[in-house]
Symmetry: C2
Subunit: 144 residues, 2 copies
C-alpha cells in the first residue's frame, strides 16, 4: 500500500492535540507527499488548488508549518529563493547547487548522537539537525 494518500497519521496527531481535521490540512499533506521532494509553498499551493479551489496562501503557509510541528514534514532553508518543504521524514541530508538552486537528497548516516550530546552540554535542548552541502550539481558542472 502506498503511503502517499494515507493521512491517518495526520488525523491521529491532530486529534491528540485537540486540533481540527480540515479538508485543507488533508489535501495539503497529500499534495506534499505527491510532490515527492523539496516543494516550495507556491508549488504546493498550485497543486492544492486543483483539488480544493479557493484555498488561500496563508492557509498553505500555516498548514505546512503545522505539519513540521507534527513531525510530518521538514522545512528546508537553503538561502536561495523560497523555503522548501520535504515530506520525507526519515533522516537524510541535502545538497544544493549554487548555480541552479536544485536540491537533491543525500542518504548518508550522520552521527547525530555526538552533536546532540555536545549541544546539551551547553544547555541547549536539541530537537532537530539539518545538514546542507552546497556545491555544483552534475548538470551544471557539465555546462562548465
Amino acid at each position: 500500500m502506498s503511503h502517499s494518500t494515507n493521512t491517518n497519521d495526520l488525523v491521529e496527531r491532530l486529534r491528540a492535540r485537540g486540533q481540527r481535521v480540515t479538508s485543507q490540512r488533508l489535501v495539503i499533506l497529500r499534495a506534499l507527499r505527491r510532490h515527492g521532494g523539496h516543494a516550495t509553498v507556491d508549488e504546493i499551493h498550485r497543486a492544492v488548488l486543483r483539488d480544493l479551489p479557493g484555498t488561500s496562501t496563508p492557509t498553505v503557509y500555516a498548514t505546512l508549518d503545522l505539519l513540521v510541528e507534527l513531525g510530518l514534514a521538514r522545512k528546508l532553508d537553503v538561502g536561495v529563493g523560497a523555503s522548501r518543504y520535504d515530506g520525507r521524514t526519515e533522516p537524510h541530508q541535502h545538497m544544493v547547487c549554487r548555480r541552479c538552486g536544485r536540491i537533491e537528497d543525500l542518504d548518508v548516516e550522520l552521527d547525530v548522537e555526538a552533536l546532540v550530546r555536545a549541544a546539551d552540554a551547553t544547555g541547549f535542548q536539541a530537537r532537530d539537525t539539518e545538514l546542507v552541502i552546497s556545491g555544483v550539481c552534475a548538470a551544471c558542472a557539465a555546462k562548465g
Copy 2:
C-alpha cells in the same frame, strides 16, 4: 596582533581575481569581523554607515556575498528572519533557538570527509557544508 582589522587577505584575493579594492569592501569586512558572529545585513549596514556614511544597501548585500565567494565569510540561513553572515571561517556548527531565534556556535568535529565522498559519488561537487541544530536555548528553556 588582532586579526579583526587586518584586511590583507581580502586585498590579496581581490587582486588575484582582478577585482577592485574599494573602501566599501574593506570597511564591510572589518564591520563583519568586529561584530563577532551571525550579523544580519542590516546590522552590518548600520555599523558600516558610521565609518563610511552613504554606503548603500545593495552594496552591503553584494559585498557580503562576495566575501562568501572569497572564503572570508559564511552565509547562514536558519529559516527565521533575515540571512546572517559569519566572519568565522574555521569549521564549526550552529544552534538556533526556535523560540527567540538566537544563534550560537557549537564547536564539534564533523566528519565532512565521508559526506563529501558520498556527494562526489553522485556527481555532485561539494564545496561547503553547513549544519544547523534547532531546538530551545538555555535562556528560553528556563522561562518554560
